[in-house]
Symmetry: C2
Subunit: 147 residues, 2 copies
């Protein structure tokens, strides 16, 4: 098993605002993909769509202002059965966002790509919270031939 890990510190925000950006369709579509829909409550499934495909995430755990956990229900074969975990907290002037995409069966090349791409989306989340404007798909940062 292999995990993708990331961490950003967001200025002029709060764990509550970060939590909102992770648990509402409006928030999620402001930093990940504009094509976000579905039920963001526990047990609900959120559909994230991108040019070449997308992901269906089941919301498996929510702790307001602290924790969000998703399980991948549909998407690329490498993603099925993996989970995404967000831990939030305030450290002084910074809202700390700890990210883990866990349970990859193999560290395949696609996992390398997803790791870098997640980093750019975490920077998009940080930017959304700090400035009100993120860079969700289709305005996302391109990192290579795999988008």
């Amino acid at each position: 098993m292999a995990d993708i890990l990331h961490r950003v510190g967001v200025e002029r925000s709060s764990p509550e605002r970060a939590y909102e950006a992770l648990t509402t369709v409006g928030g999620l579509s402001g930093w990940w993909t504009e094509k976000t829909s579905g039920d963001t409550g526990v047990g609900g499934v959120i559909e994230f769509r991108f040019g070449p495909g997308g992901f269906d995430m089941k919301v498996v755990e929510l702790d307001a202002g602290r924790l969000v956990r998703w399980e991948v229900m549909d998407g690329p074969p490498e993603w099925i059965g993996t989970g995404v975990r967000w831990d939030l907290r305030q450290d002084g002037d910074y809202t700390i966002v700890l990210f883990k995409h866990e349970g990859w069966r193999e560290p395949v090349e696609f996992m390398h790509h997803c790791s870098t791409k997640w980093a750019t989306f975490l920077m998009s989340l940080k930017q959304l919270l700090e400035t009100g404007e993120g860079a969700p798909e289709p305005r996302d940062v391109r990192i290579g031939d795999w988008h």
Copy 2:
């Protein structure tokens, strides 16, 4: 053991140019840190300095246009004994840069930070190769309270 993985695709470049950016003081100081010095040949030690500290990397393997491997000799305690591996190849119009920072003893929070920070430096490398201008320290992208 845990690894940080990344992948970028660089346009209008070549594995040879990417290799040069990873194996010369001029290249490395154009995307990672301006304060780069030392011996970039096999067995040599390259010193990378940043505001809060730095890393000494021993060059343990070089294969022109294909592979660069470093071993961390000095730096933060979590980095000692870890290794960094770069694999390069051309895929159509893109130079593919596969990155691995391998052998972390524990997936500590600092590893989360380093993973995101490496992603921004890979984007800096991509930018250097595509435009001639990267974003090395001290002009690097800030990702949070840990720089």
